[in-house]
Amino acid sequence: MSFMQIKDLNVHYPIRGGFFNTVVDHVYAVDGVSMEFEKGKTYGLVGESGSGKSTTGKAIIGLEKITSGQIIYEGQNVTNQRRKRNSAYNRDIQMIFQDSTSAMNPRKRIQEILAEPIRNFMKVSPQEEKRRIIELLEIVGMSEEALLKYPHEFSGGQKQRLGIARAVACNPKMIIADEPVSALDLSVQAQVLNFMKDIQNEFGLSYLFISHDLGVVRHMCDHISIMYKGRFVESGTREEIYANPQHVYTNRLLSAIPNIEPETRDERKIKRRAVEAAYKADSHKYFDEKGKVYPLKDLSQTHKVAMMGAERGGM
């Protein structure tokens, strides 16, 4: 059973113009997105730059104003509730970014940075607080030495771990991770990914993992949604997406991922060209006259695709 549902989420930004600076149009950054989250699972959100991945994440956590749609958390409607401090929703859903320390005050020491969420959400004595901070550093594999340092004194991988430490401070149910390893070198990326899996297993966390890297997403995620122009073109389990992709856009993304098998690269190039040709030739099957993605239709209980006549037993 899912503990959280996103229903028909929309985030539209007005474009102003003209003499009176009136609203002349809208950018449909997120244009009707629905999702459900279960405990202990990782949900991937992939797409190219500008597809609306980050806006979706930020809208869920309340950093973007939702134009319409609903977020239901444990049966409660929490849409646009972020402004209420201290709510359970605020405590239970946390976010980490590509550069975690950009969200940290550069003039504060790690000790104070980690204390903030604890003070906001837990009523504990100063001793308790200190104990929890040290415990957090332990969880992310860092020593007490870090307490008196400032954010800029850490390497990229360490910064991401500190971001995670702060996010897990108050035992959240879900972490929204927006490109958490994109700025990291391969080996550091591997350490952070390993670590994210470890704390997930330990605490039963769920992740919404936002990334443009389909290799990383495949490694991390149980369920994957592919986003294009603010909408999902396809959504399914990892197996459904990677072994049986249905939408031409999904196929196009998958065939563009570099593969570390030099022996078969010529075959891949041929496949890539075929997919590219199909993308041009059959686009009417996948996008309406305005170039908009069709509504999602169920292919199986978990697999959904946005194309003409995709329903089970459909045309």
Binding site: G141, S143, L186, S187, A190, K197, H219, A256, I260, P262
Partner: protein, 342 residues
Amino acid sequence: MKSKNDILNIKNLHTSFRIKDHYYHAVEDISLTLKENEVLAIVGESGCGKSTLATSIVGLHPPGNTKVTGEILYKGKNLVEFKEDELNKIRGNDIGFIFQDPLAALNPLMKIGEQIAETLKYHTKLDENKRKERVLELLDQVGIVNPARVANQFPHQLSGGMRQRVVIAIAIACKPKIMVADEPTTALDVTIQAQILDLLNDLQEETDAGIVLITHDLGVVAEVADRVAVMYAGQIVELATVTELFRNPLHPYTRSLLNSIPQADSNNERLEVIQGMVPTLTKMPRKGCRFAPRVPWIDETKHEENPALHEISKDHFVRCTCWKDFHFEHQEGGLQHELHAN
């Protein structure tokens, strides 16, 4: 593979930067050859000296605080000793270059067509009309659908992928013998990346140019390279053909890089990583091997005094001997070990 001629010979190249009162080697004793019609990939993590190598080849390092020694032989001449005006004649003509950020490479105030024509004006004898023709031809060649319109636009009016195509058009304008591409697709989406890499490949078939491709992405290497040099802390640790490197990687650093890539067909929950990290320039061991701190279980006596590349099999070079003793199982101690190392 048909035998190809060498077009660039790098011998014992050292490039160092001054930080306070000391010069530190960012590139240390690199020797490499580039053949015509081949893609030589240089791969390694951030700070290992890839870009420094690229800028050394095209002579673009910041003057004053940089020291370059060794040889970069092109047509029998040592580019390291070239003066700025001699380099200007070669850059853009014999050697084309493409960098990660196309916006930085283009003049924001100049129309695309004019920017390409400028290179032609400097390096060729074409008259104005012929230059205009050639500009449209080049834009078409790099896959721009409406050359006449794009020639009249400014860089900010184009998408990232199109800008990189324009930079490539400038780079190939004079049919260079050598192309140096530093992370040409890192800033682009995967679908655009695939198109740009295919484009470089197609162009190479026409021009026979040798390409030095610098990247941190082993996937990109596997897709386009013929040979690969793996760099660690300013040095080459392994050099092999692309199939050999992926089938039979030997140096622990190469193996560690390959093992930290999330893989399609492996159900491995954990990615294997080598402990520690690349030291910064000022913290680099100044004596002995720069890799030794990453393999602490290897007996002191086993390190070579002047670790050199050894030819293990034909065309496969590996630095020194630590690859013989390396196993990932050493790390199976797990998370704590690995985390505290950082």
